[in-house]
Symmetry: C2
């Protein structure tokens, strides 16, 4: 039987979160955290609604996942996020010791890879999963904003 | 008349917060955010109590200050923090566009300066204010823990 729990499968859930952000007028970034093929946290960017620069999708999911697990380390977890994390979120992921980060679109300007933010040595990274969908959503958002 | 609102004055308030963290068994780091010589946010590290790697003193103060100001940018604010911020906190401070960061003890291992985390171009940094007091508190904490 085919394994339905692929990176695409979970990234689609993160994209659904990004669409929810879009509908609220938030920069459309969504995230989920998965352990044993189960989504234990889902969130989208809420910086405008909460008036809080720290309310990125990833930060909320890290907090929610730790709360669900009852411990602050996310050692057996995978984060799916539609956009490459920034310095802040990568810094939080460093502390969380998360196992795996899967991101969609790259952020050539403010992404952690360009910025040189250090992840935990145990963390692996997968790039570009459903990147076009994530990037299209961002483009549509900024196009509508300019109108 | 002498100006009592010096960097030392506000760093002492951050140190009081760090001592509160110490008493709770948290790594003793404290922070305050100041605008026009008024403290608008104060916090201390709560990562253990909240089971949350994102609950650093700085993160909480950034959120609280933005909430107080009713806007997410901290353009006329100064953060006083007893320990050099990490990548995550410096990344959050980048987004906040904070005017000034004053820190006490340096963190040669995980501080943002060694890690190369980028601050906002408008942010100025002052280092080493009451650094010995902050460092002593950290040393005492880890010494007691080892017992």
């Amino acid at each position: 039987m085919e394994n339905i729990f692929t990176d695409d499968y979970f990234m689609k859930k993160a994209l659904q979160e990004a669409e929810m952000a879009f509908e609220k007028g938030e920069i459309p970034v969504g995230a989920v955290i998965v352990v044993n093929n189960t989504v234990i946290a889902r969130s989208h960017n809420l910086t405008e609604m909460l008036n809080d620069v720290t309310a990125h999708a990833e930060m909320q999911s890290i907090t929610a996942a730790a709360n669900y697990l009852g411990g602050k380390y996310l050692k057996d977890c995978t984060l799916y996020v539609t956009l490459e994390p920034c310095q802040m979120c990568a810094g939080a992921l460093y502390w969380s010791q998360i196992s795996k980060i899967v991101f969609g679109a790259s952020d050539a300007q403010r992404g952690f890879e360009k910025m040189g933010t250090q992840l935990h040595p145990k963390t692996t990274v997968v790039r570009g999963v459903l990147a076009d969908e994530a990037a299209d959503l961002m483009k549509r958002f900024f196009l509508e904003r300019r109108k």
